[in-house]
Amino acid sequence: MLTNQVNEILLVEDNPDDVELALHALKRNNILNPIVVARDGQEAVDYLFYSGKYEDSRHDAPALILLDLKLPKMDGIEVLRKIKAEGALKKVPVVILTSSKEEKDLVESYDLGVNSYIRKPVDFDQFVETVRYIGYYWLLLNESPVEG
């Protein structure tokens, strides 16, 4: 699959097994964007806002953020709130990819302006299929305003 942007995909996921499976699924679907993994909410925020260990890093805003909700240090909702409150980052599509579909989480996420909310299927075949849809839609089909 080709992408017209080489920007990274930010994967926010604390479980190493899930990270591995997600990477596997992305690879399987030929999604070539570089993937940055943040292992907790704080790390994700640091990466996005150039703070902490990313203070001196030079990178563009990611093309897509895959965000888990249940995270150490700072949970996904908080991360989402920060992203959607910031002018430039607001335009980056955020897909929540999580285990639960609690009504409360769903409502809160949409209130904060999430772009998509997907519950990770247990069946790996379905998960691979899901990742394929996400990549196809948000990286290829969907048009985003180009960052200046």
């Binding site: 479980n15 899930d18 499976l21 249940k70 285990s99 990770k120 247990v122 790996f124 075949d125 998960f127």
Partner: protein, 506 residues
């Protein structure tokens, strides 16, 4: 607003008092009036008798000797002394020879003086047996009189020397008007009656006042406090109970009330506390189910994911049953995930907030059936929906309830020829029902089918974890309703749902 019993109480007491006092009063007045009348008439009779004797004594001799002048004088003298009394003396032909009214002399006594039948009776009496005398009361014209009539006998000692030899010379009548007497009696009766009514009024007023002070007022006060109690509880007012000095039933009532109120305040505090604890427990449970849903699923995803990767990428290195077993591992993981989902829906069914609204059940059923339209067509199921009443319920929950029952009906009809499903409302039972012609079940397992993860069929034959009916039961019970089934193996089943139709108790 409290409708105080005082009004009813007063009315009852008033009625009882009135009946208890007025009735005896009336009876007393009637009896006393009758008694008085009798007494007065008796008295008059005695007076009349006295008069009679006096007159008779005075005229006995002159009459016997025929001294008319003396008789006349006697009578005139008397008439000046007594009023309302007429005296007539007549001969055997009832011709008045002497009378207190001078203009009556020479006239014949007729019915206008007194009833002549009495005279005739008197004159026919055996002539020598005692006193030939009669006393009676009668109405002549507009007036009432007491009459005393007696025959005047010839005195032996007189007629031996003078005059006639007749045994009976004539009659003597004393007539007294009784109207004035009766008027007196009536006046007396009215007087008594008036005094009685005044007395009764006073007694009732006094009783009412006593009743008001001793019963109505304190009870009213209690009622008012009772009415205000919920508000006070709401405001958390724990005022000290007032001092009760009464020792009677009302005091007892007040004591009980204040005791109850105290207990109510205490219980309310306990309930509030318990509620707090419950809310906390519920929150904890929610957090727990959240983490169950989240954390238990993650490892399952890993089990399935890595098994799949092994199968795909190292499949050629697996020998014998390796691939088969790995697939079993994957199935187990997916099954486990399904169970977690079901458990969570079951727990959610018990906790979700009820959103009640008036729902057209026909509309709701049609919506549900639309979701099943494909499978219904595929399996050629004959679905019938009768006219259903509206229901006050949580629409989402009832959609779930009927979706589950209908899907069960479809599922257990798959092996049956010409399957039918009917949804209706039983007017007698006031219950909705879903009836199928599926495989049915043995009624001894009736309660089991509504329990969590209880199944009567093998998983290979009919899919599902056995949570559906447990959730349905929970949702119906959230509405204070009842669900039950009637079935027989091989002859289909009917599931009934009975709710308070007007939403009472919700």
């Amino acid at each position: 607003m409290v409708r105080f019993i005082g009004k009813k109480l007063s009315r009852t007491i008033l009625t009882v008092l009135t009946l208890a006092l007025v009735l005896p009063l009336a009876i007393f007045i009637v009896f006393s009036a009758a008694h008085q009348a009798r007494d007065m008439i008796d008295e008059m009779s005695l007076f009349g008798d006295d008069l009679f004797h006096t007159v008779y004594g005075g005229i006995e001799y002159p009459m016997s000797v025929g001294d008319s002048e003396a008789v006349r004088e006697q009578l005139l003298q008397m008439s000046s002394n007594i009023r309302d009394v007429q005296i007539y003396i007549s001969d055997l032909n009832q011709r008045v020879t002497y009378a207190t009214e001078a203009d009556m002399i020479g006239k014949i006594i007729d019915d206008s003086i007194y009833n002549q039948a009495v005279w005739r009776e008197l004159i026919i009496q055996p002539k020598n047996n005692g006193i030939l005398k009669r006393s009676f009361e009668e109405q002549i014209g507009e007036n009432r009189y007491l009459n005393m009539v007696r025959l005047v006998k010839n005195q032996e000692k007189c007629h031996q020397c003078h005059g006639s030899e007749q045994e009976i010379l004539g009659s003597m009548t004393v007539r007294m008007g009784t109207d004035r007497t009766y008027a007196n009696i009536y006046a007396h009766v009215w007087h008594n009656f008036f005094i009685g009514v005044l007395g009764i009024g006073a007694i009732i007023a006094f009783a009412y006042l006593l009743l008001f002070l001793l019963v109505t007022k304190p009870v009213k006060q209690l009622a008012k406090e009772l009415e205000e109690l919920p508000e006070k509880i709401e405001e958390g007012e724990y005022e000290a109970r007032k001092i009760i000095t009464r020792e009677d039933e009302i005091g007892c009532l007040e004591k009980t009330f204040y005791k109850m109120r105290k207990e109510l305040f205490e219980k309310n505090a306990i309930i509030k506390n318990t509620n707090k604890e419950l809310t906390a427990a519920n929150k904890e449970l929610e957090a727990f189910s959240y983490s169950v849903s989240h954390d238990l699923r993650a490892p399952l995803r890993n089990i399935d994911g890595f098994s799949k990767i092994v199968l795909e990428e190292y499949g050629d290195k697996l020998e014998g049953m390796g691939e088969h077993y790995l697939n079993r591992v994957r199935n187990g993981a997916i099954k486990m995930s399904q169970l977690i989902d079901d458990m969570l829906s079951f727990s959610r069914a018990g906790r979700a907030e009820l959103r009640l609204e008036q729902v057209s059940m026909n509309k709701l059923i049609n919506n549900v059936l639309r979701d099943f339209s494909e499978v219904i067509k595929d399996k050629n199921i004959d679905v019938k929906v009768e006219d259903l009443p509206e229901l006050l319920c949580d629409q989402k929950m009832f959609q779930h309830v009927f979706a589950n029952l209908i899907s069960n009906g479809i599922k257990y009809s798959s092996e049956v020829e010409r399957p039918k499903i009917k949804i209706g409302f039983d007017e007698g039972l006031k219950a909705f029902y879903v009836k199928d012609t599926g495989i049915g079940f043995d009624m001894q397992y009736h309660d089991k089918i509504f329990q969590v993860f209880q199944r009567l069929q093998l998983p290979e034959e009919y899919e599902g974890t056995g949570i559906g009916l447990a959730i349905v039961k929970r949702l119906v019970e959230r509405h204070h309703g009842k669900i039950w089934a009637e079935s027989e193996p091989g002859s289909g089943s009917v599931f009934y749902i009975q709710l308070p139709l007007d939403g009472m108790g919700l």
